[in-house]
Amino acid sequence: MTSTTLEYALEADGLVQHFARPGREPLHVLDGLDLRVREGEFAAVLGPSGSGKSTLLNILAGLDRPGSGAVRVGGSGSVAYMPQKDLLFPWRTVEDNAILGLEVAGVKKKAAREQVAPLFEEFGLAGFEHSYPAQLSGGMRQRAALLRTVAMNRPVLLLDEPFGALDALTRTQLHLWLAETRQRHGWTIVLVTHDIREAVILADSVHVLSPRPARVTHRLEIDLPLPRTADTFALPEFARLERELLVALGTLG
């Protein structure tokens, strides 16, 4: 296990996954899926609902073992995972939710709180540190869940449709916010989504999945200029990429 010589921050080779179904043949979900993500790259994995995106992230996060294939993570070998459901703990305040990862890593509560304190401003949650999740709006909950993921201080972030449950307006706001924030931090991100606009506005590369059983059918470099802003949506290049992905997904002829 030599991690220093790794060229990629995250590398998945030939992932295969089946799920047993009682009384029927197993459900074939992943079919030899390859994924390579460079250090500091924002990779979007684009696929229709039910294609196996969450299955893939569960494997990348080390929560499930693939039927076959391998995952390698560079650096310290650790990732921060944000599940599809926000899974904020209702009995913890926003602040105590945010320090969960640090606490698990053995950081004392007080030190952990000091460490995450500057993030609240940045995530638009200043003043809500001591609120319970039940007191937040949907968009705030998503940001809180993202904050918790980021606060773990891991080099690679795995995000499972982080904005899936939001209205279009809030979602676009959060896209622009994440585009700006992640550029500042230089995070390596794997984001799973079925939203083409989300993939194009945020990502450096888009990996298109086939319907189940999933493999990567297209890999598209998004060479839109950085920083991505509201103006990016108006670029002809943006429309071209969007259309190209629609074709790749098989939605257009």
């Binding site: 990732v79 995972y81 599940p83 209702p90 999740p133 039940a134």
Partner: protein, 274 residues
Amino acid sequence: MSGSRSTSISPRAGKVLRAAWPPLLLAAVLVVGWQLLAQDGIKNPQVLPSPTRVVSAGWDQRSTIWSEALPTLRETELGFALSFALSWLIAGAMDFSATVRRAVYPLLVTSQTVPVVALAPMFVVVFGFTLLPKVLLVALATFFPLTASLAEGFATADGEASRLLRSMGAGRWREFWTVRVPGALPFFFTGLRVSITYAIGGAIFAEYAGAERGLGLYLNQMQQVFRLDLVFATVIVVAALSVALFAATYLLERWLTPWRRFERSARTQGANAA
């Protein structure tokens, strides 16, 4: 909010009032009926003392009743502490090990089918007129609802929250404390409310079977000298103490699960908006 109710009481107090008046009214009707029956019907306090007689007799004997109540409360407290500790231990062990769960659960249920009536005299024979048989009986009477509700609370913990925690590198122990314990608290309080109503009754039952002090013994003695008025007065005291303990569980719950208030208020707000 124009056109809404024009009460000066806070909504909470209003809610309490609305919840309280039907049982209060019913109780008042029953007490009046009892008074009329005792006073004009039966006319024999050794068969049925009237409420006024019960209250005045109880008031006369208040210091005796109170001094007998203290040992009973002490037994309740110790017995309940024992059953509290046992329930967390056993429910926790059941959560950590499926084998323990399979082994213990049938025994737990069986322990509930043992009639306390039969056990109380037996405990006295074995342990004498000491504190121990009372404490054990209180524990036995209360610990099943506590353990069962706690075990269920642990078991219904959100599996995905546990997975998230494991993805952060948490072990089983931390997962237990971070996800299962807080998630089980609402269940625990439900069990607590059920079991706390058995607690004082269990202590009194044990004293009834043999004791040197306590409300159970006092009840027994008053019955033997045909002081039914004092028997009733003691029963009322016991009921009042049980209700007070019951109410205390709500205070404790509010204090220990502060986040639930917001979940509730979020729901009421939704209901009001509709």
